[in-house]
Amino acid sequence: MDLLTFARGPALVVSLAVFVLGSLWHLAGVLLRPRMPDLSPARQGAPEKWLGALRAVKHGLWPRKEFGQAALGSTINGYVFHIGLALVFFGYAPHIAFIRRVIGLSWPALPDLVMYLAAGASIVSLLLALGSRLLNPVLGKISNLDDIITWAIVILPILTGMAVVAEPSAAVLSRDRVIYPVPLAIHLLTLELLLIWFPFGKLMHAFLFVFSRGATGLRFSHRGVEV
């Protein structure tokens, strides 16, 4: 079995299994922990619980203006790499072809130029994030190995992906064989590494974010406070 067949076959199956089962285990392990009902009477006029939770999730999308520049800078940088990564992952034509092969779903691709810009912006913003993680004393106090591993594991698929982009996606897709099997296999393997790491590190915030903010929304909307 050559490397590409391995990456497209067993490695993909195993990494997807770890991703799905690991994430479910992680979520269940947290969400099934004991729950303490709030028996205090709600503030008069408090919204329905679900609405309070939803509002808190919504508020988390952008910092309050009172918190000024610091919050804004890091939020914007966060959005750049989240959106950049999402665009590249879901919008690049060869990725869509790959997803179609695996799960049978597809959608229109974005132009290559948009992809190159999105990938470039993601890389710059990830480098900025790393710079501030290494230099900012606050981040120095609170960072741990998970942050560094996750950072590396997120940037690797972008870098290895750039390495296989030698021609327009239309040309890549028009061929029925892969002309750079090893770089492509490595690219795929880095994605699989990300899937395997996902349930164990901070990438889980992609799922936990909603519950974490929602729980705070429940607690405080009950008291008549919008968080």
Binding site: V30, L39, G68
Partner: protein
């Protein structure tokens, strides 16, 4: 060592437990706290550091150790080792270090001296993590380990004995009689039956006794049957601040049981933030069921009396600014009530730069006001608050929490600042119309 003043030891120890026993006690307590919301909040931190920008202790010192989420480090580590979904793996591979006695000792300063449990950091956190609540839960473990500041431990012992940090219950009738005489008002005590049970904050039983008379003046005016009572009189729940859950439950039950015994339907809480946190939102947890009485803060009570026309107040007609007590506003939901009372008093309100739910803490909440080790830190926060207050140009400065008031008074004394911190209750009582 992480003490802000190297001359002062960064931690105190109570009782004679061995170090191993302390660590075990703390860990057992930490683990018992890991319910679903706590787990979610410990899991979802992305270490972005934004919470530092919201915390008055970081903002005024620039010291990274005051980053809110860092204050939780031993608690966080306990979670990942003992309760997270991959805990066995974490332990087997030694991925997270078990908190040891040195960690707990060193974190005492961060958990007690430099967190007022004000909750401002929650508002900036993209994950909405309720750090104040997590710090409170971490304090439960620190208390069990006998690792809290001595000053707070002393107050705890007093409250365990007296049911109050200020005075034993037997002395209440004398204190009320004296306050009544001084201010010319009748303050009922220990009635067998009443519709309303009125409670006090510790400071009102010693230095701020006028507040007792002020409440009495208003309650007597509306003609209800009310009383204060030796059975449950001090609502500033020191157990809530210290992490002493047994005491918190005992003090809470004293209020509710006394109210039930005398047939009261309402318990009025004093102008005290932590009393509100402990009784309004947590009493039912200790009671084990929905409470048979309504618990209401003095500010809410004044607001309702004015809105319903049961009392009227004279208009003062000056400019004023208002400090929002964290437990009453950001964590309690009474932002609008205080402002309605101020408006009724005819104040032209000039808001602080940071006000309402995003207002900065006074720097003394969560027991920090009583913790002499934190004096330097408190003064730094005071400087910032003083600047914000002065920047409004308002003539009067008002708040609705006695603890905040004491914190401001202490800060003002240190800074030789002559602006008095006024109580909303006192302003209403002094300006009752007709």
């Amino acid at each position: 060592m992480i003490a802000s003043d190297p001359a002062i030891p960064a931690f105190d120890k109570q009782d004679g437990q061995s170090d191993e026993a302390r660590v075990e006690a703390a860990m057992r307590s930490f683990v018992s706290e890991f319910g679903v919301t706590t787990a979610l909040h410990l899991e979802s931190c992305v270490r972005c550091g934004l919470c530092a920008e919201a915390c008055h202790f970081y903002v005024t010192t620039g010291d990274a150790k005051y980053t809110p989420v860092y204050k939780l480090e031993p608690f966080r580590r306990a979670y990942f080792r003992e309760a997270s979904p991959f805990a066995p793996l974490v332990r087997a591979l030694g991925l997270v270090k078990k908190p040891g006695i040195v960690d707990l000792e060193q974190w005492q300063e961060l958990i007690y001296d430099s967190c007022t449990m004000c909750g401002r950091c929650t508002l900036i956190c993209p994950m909405g993590i309720d750090i104040a609540e997590l710090v409170k839960e971490a304090r439960h473990g620190m208390f069990k380990a006998g690792l809290l500041p001595d000053r707070l431990a002393l107050m705890d012992r007093t409250a365990r004995q007296w049911g109050s940090t200020a005075t034993p219950g037997e002395d209440l009738p004398d204190i009320l009689a004296e306050a009544g005489r001084s201010y010319g008002v009748d303050i009922p005590c220990d009635l067998d039956s009443a519709d309303i049970l009125v409670t006090a904050a510790s400071a009102e039983l010693s230095e701020h006794t006028k507040a007792l008379a002020d409440a009495a003046k208003i309650l007597n005016r509306i003609g209800v049957k009310w009383t204060m009572h030796q059975g449950g009189f001090d609502a500033s729940n020191i157990g809530f601040n210290n992490g002493d859950m047994e005491l918190q439950e005992r003090l809470t039950r004293a209020l509710i049981d006394t109210a039930v015994r005398i047939g009261a339907k309402t318990v009025i809480l004093p102008e005290c933030g932590h009393a509100y946190g402990a009784a309004r939102w947590e009493a039912a947890k200790w009671y084990g069921q929905a409470l048979p009485v309504r618990i209401i803060h003095m500010t809410e009570f004044l607001d309702e009396l004015i809105a319903s026309g049961r009392i009227r107040v004279n208009r003062i007609g000056e400019t004023a600014t208002f400090h929002d007590p964290c437990q009453i506003v950001r964590r309690g939901g009474l932002e609008a009530a205080a402002r309605r009372v101020l408006a009724a008093l005819g104040f032209e309100l000039i808001e602080l730069k940071d006000h309402g739910v995003t207002g900065y803490c006074c720097g003394g909440g969560g027991g920090v006001v009583s913790n002499q080790r934190a004096t330097t830190l408190r003064h730094k926060v005071f400087e910032m608050k003083q600047q914000q207050i002065e920047a409004t140009g308002a003539k009067r400065f008002v708040t609705s929490c006695g603890q905040c008031r004491i914190t401001f008074e202490m800060g003002a004394r240190h800074a030789h600042w002559d602006k008095p911190t006024e109580s909303l209750l006192e302003l209403v009582a002094d300006n009752l119309a007709g």
